[in-house]
Symmetry: C2
DNA sequence: CATTTGATGTTATTTTTCTAACAAAAACCT
DNA sequence: AGGTTTTTGTTAGAAAAATAACATCAAATG
């Protein structure tokens, strides 16, 4: 990609940073180039901006991904996540201090929060923070550090210490693999410390994982199933409520 | 308006209640009627839903609100900021560790960075972090804490300690007010600590402020002009290079 | 039962947006 | 300078969407 092209994209991205749309014609006028050039910039770019019916809009916000493109498969997972999150949301009470884990699983949870909901939410994920930053009722605490693009999270050596200073009420944890015997795992090792710290200091621990994670093992173990008080999952997960600790909720 | 029509609209409104888009064709299939009927429903409705390029969206969705104001006034300032940032960018060398301050002034700087640029960038601003998160060559460090929507920044009591542990090479600082005699100020008190810490520990300090800030005093002072090595500003600022410390660059 | 009325579907037309191809201009290199 | 590549603009054609007009259907009414 071109340097000038990148600068134009940057400018447009900035213009649209807080949402809104821009007619393609406006964008072209703004940058002093033809509409065709803007089109080319967009298709060469990283997909942060997209064109929908002649209107330039942000595409990087999962909140605005198409909901019901029933044709594709991604969306069925999205719908599953939506269902799980609706159940998870019922565990949230006003005044809670929540920990919200990384990934896309919990995005419907934070995106769906009521504007006026009075909560404190702690996270180390950039996408989660972005969604929460728009809610006036939420006090957002982001655990900073070095950014890891692979999981859109921040990692730092004192994240555990900082987390333990916060009075976390409920921890919503995600996983890439959930195995009844072997335990709960994720892809990236830098996610382990925050997850474990959140599990350690939260009063109530909730695991949210859709069917596609069931029976899977990923590189980084971070907990066993009975570290959790509640597990919210889909009907095909094969997990069942036993006498033991975790209460399995099927959504 | 028709009763069935109203019911369809209600159903679609519900489907889009949490944002997202719906293809007109999907909507038609969902309601079991033709696309034309959906179109008629929409134009007869209260305007809560709207059609944009074949996609059905909520009219009050902030993402799809047209940005009317861009063409007008913001534009000239944006262009000025673009100019300042082009000058500022010339001070960046590969391998640098930068501090980038909050606000919109420096957005063109980070948005315009080359994809391959090898840098470490430290910031405490969410918008800056978002722009940088897309650049593969940039190691992004976000100083976390409690989110302040007014400035899109994070604040925490140990931000100063954490900053001083980082080897900041060049600090790009912004201001809401620059006064030759009185000093440099910003709107929010929670910005003061990070700014001062960055100024304290950086090797080179650059102030970037467009003309509209010149001669202005804002609530929170955080530095004097000669705390900076370089000041990048516009032609109308009235600032001039004197014998003293700050080198004034007019862009 | 025929007729009317309103809602819906279908088709055709216009407008707009998208894509591809080529031409012009600018930047780049030797 | 001369030639090459890259970037941008223009044009033309294809695709999609918006609009309008007309046809069809179903319920309601006398």
């Amino acid at each position: 990609m071109n340097e000038r092209s990148a600068r134009r994209l940057g400018r447009l991205t900035e213009a649209l940073a807080r949402g809104g749309t821009l007619r393609l014609s406006e964008a072209a006028r703004l940058c002093g180039v033809s509409e065709m050039t803007i089109r080319r910039d967009l298709s060469a770019g990283d997909g942060g901006l997209t064109l929908i019916g002649g209107h330039l809009v942000r595409a990087d916000d999962p909140r605005y991904a198409p909901l019901y493109d029933l044709a594709t498969q991604q969306d069925r997972q999205a719908e599953a996540k939506q269902r799980l999150c609706e159940v998870a949301a019922r565990h949230i009470e006003d005044g809670d201090t929540l920990f919200v884990d990384c990934g896309t699983t919990l995005m419907p949870l934070v995106s769906g929060l009521d504007q006026e909901r009075s909560l404190t939410v702690v996270t180390y994920a950039l996408n989660v923070a972005n969604a929460l930053s728009r809610l006036p009722g939420v006090r957002l605490v982001l655990l900073g550090g070095v950014y890891h693009p692979s999981s859109q999270t921040f990692a730092s050596d004192d994240i555990v210490a900082r987390l333990s200073r916060l009075g976390i009420n409920k921890a919503f944890i995600t996983a890439a693999g959930v195995h009844a015997k072997k335990g709960v795992s994720c892809f990236h090792f830098h996610e382990v410390a925050p997850k474990q710290a959140a599990i350690a200091c939260a009063t109530q621990r909730l695991l949210v994982a859709d069917d596609s994670k069931a029976g899977i093992i990923r590189p980084a173990y971070f907990a066993t199933l009975d570290d959790f008080d509640v597990v919210i999952t889909g009907p095909e997960s094969g997990l069942e409520t036993t006498a033991g600790r975790p209460q399995i909720i099927v959504a």
